[in-house]
């Protein structure tokens, strides 16, 4: 937009305002004047038209004034007299006028000269006679001229018809024709059919021209009655008035439209001229006044301002304002504002220069820098006026491809706001945050303002943070425990994968929900809802663990035991901003712990049982030893012999019971000895079935092979299988035990990894049977279908069988029963049958017995002395070693040492033999123990012994062992 001086501006504004007003006034004045002119014309025309009309009417009707007089005179006469008077007296003065008299039928009675030839002619078809004073317009039959015929009643049905030559009207109108009020005016009269009755143009009159037809585009009359029409391509304005007499005629007064228009134009032009003059004077006066009181003072002020731009000083002088108070006020305000702006600018400059960011303003079209701050100057130099892309980008000679100018303005060119974006200058590897904005510059132009801040550090920090977050996320994903974080309102913020699995809620579904909705926990025992861990954490503000026996109910209703803990999440100010819950599924752990507890309980029981068994065995050793001796000292026929025999058997059962107890508690390694399976099976089954309603049926061949088994454990196996069969037949039944020798080939067919020959032992009951779905679990520890029982019986069986290198299988059919099949490796050895009373052989030599139990020492001593040995006794290993040394040094060596394995609080057998063997490698020792399952007992040779003795032992067994050792 170009700028003008105030003077010009004022003039322009005044002109702009004045001109439309002037035009409006002119138009209104013109219209009004035109209307006034028209009105004047209409009034003048109306006045004249009335006069002309009357004149013409009078001319037509009363042109021949004598006619009326004559008519008045003759009307009273007789018809013939009428005719005579008329013929005599009626002489029309105007040329072309003529007359005739007709009767009531239109027959011509009398005609003026020279038209007497028309007498007796019938004029009725010509509309003669008419009623009243009828006026007709046509060409005359008599004169051949255009005429109007006027009919006068003469009475007696006679009419006088006077034909008026229309040409005679024209002279009467001469005055009006010559003395035109308006140039070009015309008066004319038209008949009802539009034909010319009167017109200044005689030709039109003579030819009875149809002027109405020739008048085109006849407008409607306006308020003044004026209308326009086109005639021969010229526009006329006219006024018309109807005649009252003659009826049907119309008087027209027309004048060329241009005549009135010119008149109106002259009036309007005159008025316009006057108005122009007036407006001009007013305009000039106003301009002068404005100039004097406004423009000039303003110009002076402007000059002063220009001057102040250069000098920096804005001085106000009194003559500057021309004495106008308001201008002075404005000046003062300008000065104050100037100073304020200057201050503001300096502040702004200071602010911009203090920024540690590049701030620049550039032209959006040509990219020229219009402003740069100090920081930018320090970075890129004083590049004001240069291109921004050259100044801030290295090697950029054209506008940057990433220039955001297009985004700063909308389609209408209006600023779209601040456009924030980040850019990395790969050259210097620095990140900048750009805040681009289109602003209006001081010159009113829209320019780009950019604030570029180095955010390299922030970007690096963000990258690190991102990396940390990623690590955290990976960590969370990798954590085996479930993690849930919430805000302080217990709204869920995060769930890791494990938490999703345990709760059944996905991260997206859970986010924002209340913790209790997702983490639904109840007390396992009371089934009551647990207190929200978030509330507890927030209450205590520290890490807490949840109560035990907490069940997490997942979304699908699955219950899991969990162990969890919660901790507050704090910000840098240590304000709690959330809670993190960590929990894990401990269902399996609990189950394992329960099992472990059971095992430990069992172990405790085992230890107890072991301890009891050991002591029990020791006691039994004494009892059994004495009973054995007593048997030997008594005659078999004596009554006491059988009693002692029974007591002996009872001791042996007690020993077996202790053995079972030890086996159960320890599950220890079998101490294998060649055993008669047939005898063992029968005794074990009979023992357990004693007093029950179950009958055992044996099917054991005579040549059943033996096997090296731990008799006690194997007995336990048979007993447990038989007991199982009893439980399957609570109402009684039969248990069958069948044994068969199996060769290697037969066993090979059975899925069993083994070698050699086997003894097959089948224990069959005919009970309810085991369902297929659980048959594979019958050997699992703690598996039971019974309400009572530990579920360990078959597990112990399986364990013992496995330790014997044997195999056990089970077959069952519902309603038919169950068969357990054991495959035991058979032994090639034969059992040497020994008669208890006869085979107790005596021997010689020195035997030392070491035991901490005095009664055992005593009975052992007696038993050995009965057998013929010299017996030495020692209470523990130390004493035994000392005594052994003594005898060796004395040259009276000990031949055999029988040592108790365990000497509570002293040296046991194993430690003693080691010392003895160290001193005397040839020493022979037998280990004895009530813990028959001890590995030393099972593999005595490995520990330096030559044999083992299980307490309690019988005399025969003692004799055999000693003799065997001493013989080797």
């Amino acid at each position: 937009m170009s700028h003008r001086s105030l003077r010009k501006q004022v003039a322009l504004v005044l002109s702009t305002v004045a001109l439309p007003c002037f035009i409006l006034v002119i138009v209104v004045a013109a219209i009004r004047n035109y209307q006034a002119v028209k009105e004047d014309y209409a009034n003048s025309m109306r006045a004249r038209i009335g006069v002309v009309r009357s004149l013409i009417a009078d001319t037509v009707l009363n042109q021949e004034s004598q006619v009326l007089n004559l008519v008045d005179r003759v009307v009273w006469l007789m018809p013939q007299e009428k005719l005579a008077v008329i013929a005599r007296d009626l002489h029309l003065h105007r040329p072309g006028n003529t007359w005739y008299v007709v009767d009531g039928r239109g027959r011509v009675l009398l005609a003026a000269d020279p038209f007497s030839e028309y007498v007796d002619l019938d004029f009725s078809c010509m509309g003669i006679p008419g009623n009243g004073q009828k006026v007709l317009h046509r060409q005359s039959l008599l004169t051949k001229r255009s005429m109007v015929s006027v009919q006068y009643q003469l009475g007696e049905e006679m009419q006088l018809v006077v034909e008026i030559d229309l040409a005679n009207i024209i002279p009467n109108m001469a005055h009006f024709t010559e003395n035109q009020l308006f140039i070009g005016e015309h008066f004319f009269v038209l008949s009802p059919s539009g034909k010319v009755i009167y017109h200044p143009d005689r030709t039109l009159v003579r030819t009875r021209a149809n002027l109405k037809f020739a008048m085109k585009n006849i407008s409607k009359p306006d308020a003044n009655g004026l209308f326009t029409f086109l005639y021969q391509e010229e526009k006329y304005i006219a006024l018309s008035e109807p005649f009252t007499v003659p009826t049907g005629w119309t008087m027209y007064y027309s004048l060329p439209w241009r005549v009135m228009f010119d008149k109106a134009a002259r009036v309007v032009v005159g008025q316009v001229g006057l108005l122009i003059l007036l407006f001009s004077l007013l305009f000039l006066l106003l301009v002068q006044i404005l100039n004097y009181f406004f423009s000039k003072p303003v110009s002076r002020i402007v000059a002063a301002l220009h001057s102040s731009d250069k000098s920096g000083e804005f001085e106000i002088s009194p003559d500057m304002t021309g004495g106008v108070m308001e201008l002075e006020t404005i000046l003062l305000a300008i000065k104050n504002r100037d100073e304020a702006i200057d201050r503001s600018f300096k502040q702004f400059q200071a602010v911009l220069d203090s920024l540690e960011s590049i701030v620049y303003v550039a032209d959006m079209q040509n990219h020229t820098l219009l402003f740069i701050n100090r920081y930018a100057r320090e970075r890129v130099g004083d590049v004001l006026g240069q291109k921004c892309y050259r100044s801030f980008q290295t090697g950029q000679n054209v506008p940057c491809s990433f220039c955001t100018n297009d985004r700063l303005l909308d389609e209408d060119g209006n600023p779209t706001g601040v456009h924030v974006w980040e850019f990395q200058n790969v050259g210097v590897e620095q990140w900048y945050e750009y805040r681009d904005q289109a602003i209006t510059w001081i010159d009113g132009k829209i320019v780009r303002m950019t604030i570029a801040t180095d955010i390299t550090d922030r970007k690096n920090a963000e990258a690190e943070l991102l990396q940390e977050k990623e690590q955290l996320a990976v960590t969370l994903r990798s954590i085996g425990d479930a993690v849930i974080t919430t805000d302080v309102d217990a709204g869920i913020v995060l769930l890791n994968k494990v938490a999703e699995q345990l709760t059944g809620w996905s991260q997206e579904e859970a986010r924002g929900r209340d913790l209790t909705e997702v983490f639904h926990i109840i007390n396992e025992k009371s089934r009551k809802i647990c207190e929200s861990p978030v509330e507890r954490v927030l209450e205590y503000g520290e890490t807490i663990s949840l109560a035990n026996h907490t069940l997490l109910i997942s979304r699908d209703g699955t219950e899991r035991s969990i162990a969890d803990s919660g901790a507050p999440i704090r910000d840098r100010e240590s304000q709690v901003i959330g809670v993190v819950l960590v929990f894990r599924d401990v269902t399996e752990i609990h189950k394992s712990e329960k099992e472990l507890l059971k095992i430990r309980k069992l172990e405790s029981v085992g230890v107890l049982a072991g301890g009891i068994a050991h002591d029990f065995n020791n006691i039994l050793t004494v009892i059994l030893g004495n009973l054995n001796l007593a048997e030997y000292y008594l005659d078999s026929h004596e009554k006491a012999y059988s009693l002692i025999k029974n007591a002996d058997k009872a001791c042996l059962r007690a020993r077996d019971l202790a053995l079972q107890l030890l086996t159960f508690s320890r599950g220890g390694e079998p101490v294998r000895e060649l055993t008669s399976l047939a005898k063992l099976i029968r005794e074990s089954a009979d023992f357990v079935l004693h007093g029950s309603n179950i009958v055992c049926k044996y099917n054991i061949p005579e040549d059943l092979w033996s096997a090296e088994v731990d008799a006690g454990q194997m007995s336990q196996v048979i007993q447990n299988l038989v007991i199982n069969g009893c439980h399957a037949m609570p109402n009684g039944g039969v248990v069958e035990i069948s044994c068969v020798n199996r060769s290697l080939e037969e066993v090979a067919k059975i899925p069993f990894r083994g070698s050699g020959n086997y003894v097959e032992i089948k224990v069959t009951d005919y009970g309810a049977g085991i369902p297929d779905e659980i048959i594979d679990q019958v050997f699992d520890p703690y598996f039971t279908t019974k309400e009572e029982g530990s579920g360990l019986g078959l597990a112990i069986v399986h364990s013992i069988i496995s330790k014997h290198g044997a195999h056990i299988g089970v077959e069952s059919a519902i309603g038919k029963g169950t068969t357990f099949t054991i495959l035991l490796p058979a032994s090639i050895k034969h059992i040497e049958e020994e008669m208890l009373a006869v085979q107790t052989a005596s021997g010689s030599g020195t035997v030392m017995v070491m035991d901490d139990d005095a009664m055992i020492l005593e009975v052992a001593q007696q038993m050995l002395e009965y057998l013929g040995y010299e017996v030495l006794i020692a209470g523990d290993g130390v004493a035994a070693i000392s005594l052994f040394k003594e005898r060796q040094e004395a040259g009276n060596p000990v031949d055999l040492v029988i040592m108790d394995l365990t000497i509570p609080g002293g040296m046991g057998g194993w430690e003693a033999i080691q010392e003895l063997q160290a001193l005397y490698p040839e020493v022979k020792a037998i280990v004895a123990s009530g813990y028959s399952n001890d590995p030393v007992m099972a593999e005595y040779e490995k520990y330096g012994f030559v044999g083992s003795l299980h307490k309690p032992f019988e005399l025969a067994e003692l004799s055999r062992k000693v003799r065997s050792v001493l013989a080797n």
Binding site: G106, L121, C125, S146, R206, T207, R208
Partner: protein, 371 residues
């Protein structure tokens, strides 16, 4: 920039002015003249001719004119006099008319012929039957049949009526027609014939006229007069007790006959090529417009002028440039189906059309059949 804008504005203004001028030239009217008797004896009949022509021109202009140019009809009164004819035609020629329609009497037309055609302007009429203008290759055209046909048909009528003697009442004010007519009748009529001549421009001595007509005691009187004269003659003959046949010509075929003859026109016959019982839709439409515009019935006079203007306008539309030769060519080439039937000009610009006997019955013209 400003200069260019100003120049452009000025140029546009000039272009506008030129365009207006050009348009104006294109819309300049085509003038045709109508020269007929309006103020002389029988001038009322001329009013009908004028009305018919004005209506035709108005219709043509309402329909867009002649090739977009309005048709302008300049009307002149020939006063039924030689001087009047000359004045009228000269005025029209001076006004630059493309053609002159005229005149309404054979004598006037004969007078006008050399004036108009020598000015290389086409002269065309529907109201001249004189054979003086027949069979000439000139700039004269007419849509009316000539006296040869009239003579023949009149002779036929006389023969049919078994008229052995006929007297001709001849208004010498139109001598070109009446003399020609009588001569032609005599060619084809072998009966006795006599002539009674008078001049309507002079004061008519009707008594003598009637005496002269009755003297031969002819069986028929053929009135070669215009309507007013015919009407007065009929009344006079009736008053004189004449009971013979009375025949008129196309010259008297106007409504004014009834006005002037009254009931004495009853049974009066005339020979004409205008069918009074024309029921063509074009004619009915024309008749309705005549009543609307001029409050007058259509008649033989107005119908002919209407037809003629339509034919002329059509020819004007077909000429490449408007001049007499092109118009002549166009007219000769045209075949027109008008409100009164088919019109085809022979090479001399004459026509042959059906001729009828028309009888006045109950105050109206009625077609009594083609002759």
């Amino acid at each position: 920039m400003k200069t260019a804008s100003s120049v452009a504005q000025i140029f546009c203004c000039l272009l506008f002015v030129f365009f207006c001028f050009a348009c104006n030239k294109d819309t300049e009217s085509i003038r045709i003249g109508l020269a007929i008797n309006l103020s002389g004896l029988g001038g009322t009949a001329g009013e009908h001719i004028r009305d018919g022509a004005l209506l035709a021109v108005d219709e043509i202009n309402r329909q867009g004119g002649v090739n977009g140019r309005p048709l302008e009809l300049l009307v002149r009164d020939d006063e039924n006099s030689e001087d009047g004819v000359k004045k009228a035609d000269e005025s029209l020629l001076e006004a630059g008319v493309a053609a002159i329609i005229g005149h309404s009497y054979s004598s006037s037309t004969v007078t006008a012929h050399p004036i108009v055609t020598s000015s290389n302007t086409l002269l065309i009429t529907a109201y001249a039957a004189t054979t003086k203008l027949s069979s000439k290759d000139d700039l004269f055209f007419r849509t009316s049949v000539d006296c040869t046909l009239y003579g023949k048909k009149t002779a036929d009528w006389l023969r049919r009526k078994q008229v052995d003697s006929v007297v001709f009442l001849m208004d010498m004010a139109n001598s070109a027609f009446v003399l020609d007519y009588v001569n032609k009748v005599k060619i084809f009529y072998q009966g006795e014939s006599s002539e009674v001549r008078f001049h309507s421009r002079d004061q008519v001595d009707w008594s003598k006229l009637i005496r002269d007509l009755l003297a031969p005691k002819s069986e028929a009187i053929v009135m070669l007069t215009e309507a007013s004269m015919t009407g007065v003659a009929l009344q006079k003959l009736h008053a004189a007790g004449y009971e013979g046949l009375k025949l008129g010509s196309i010259w008297t075929h106007t409504p004014e006959l009834m006005r002037y003859a009254g009931k004495d026109a009853e049974g009066f016959s005339l020979i004409t090529f205008i069918d009074p019982d024309n029921n063509r839709p074009a004619y009915n439409s024309f008749s309705a417009k005549m009543m609307e515009m001029f409050q007058r019935q259509a008649n033989a006079r107005s119908a002919r002028s209407y037809e003629l203007v339509m034919i002329l306008a059509d020819a004007l539309k077909r000429v490449p440039t408007i001049n007499s030769m092109e118009l002549k060519k166009a007219l000769l080439a045209g075949e027109y189906e008008t409100l009164m039937g088919k019109v085809v000009f022979d090479r001399f610009g004459d026509v042959v059309r059906p001729v009828y006997e028309v009888i006045v019955r109950e105050g109206r013209f009625r077609n009594n059949g083609e002759l």
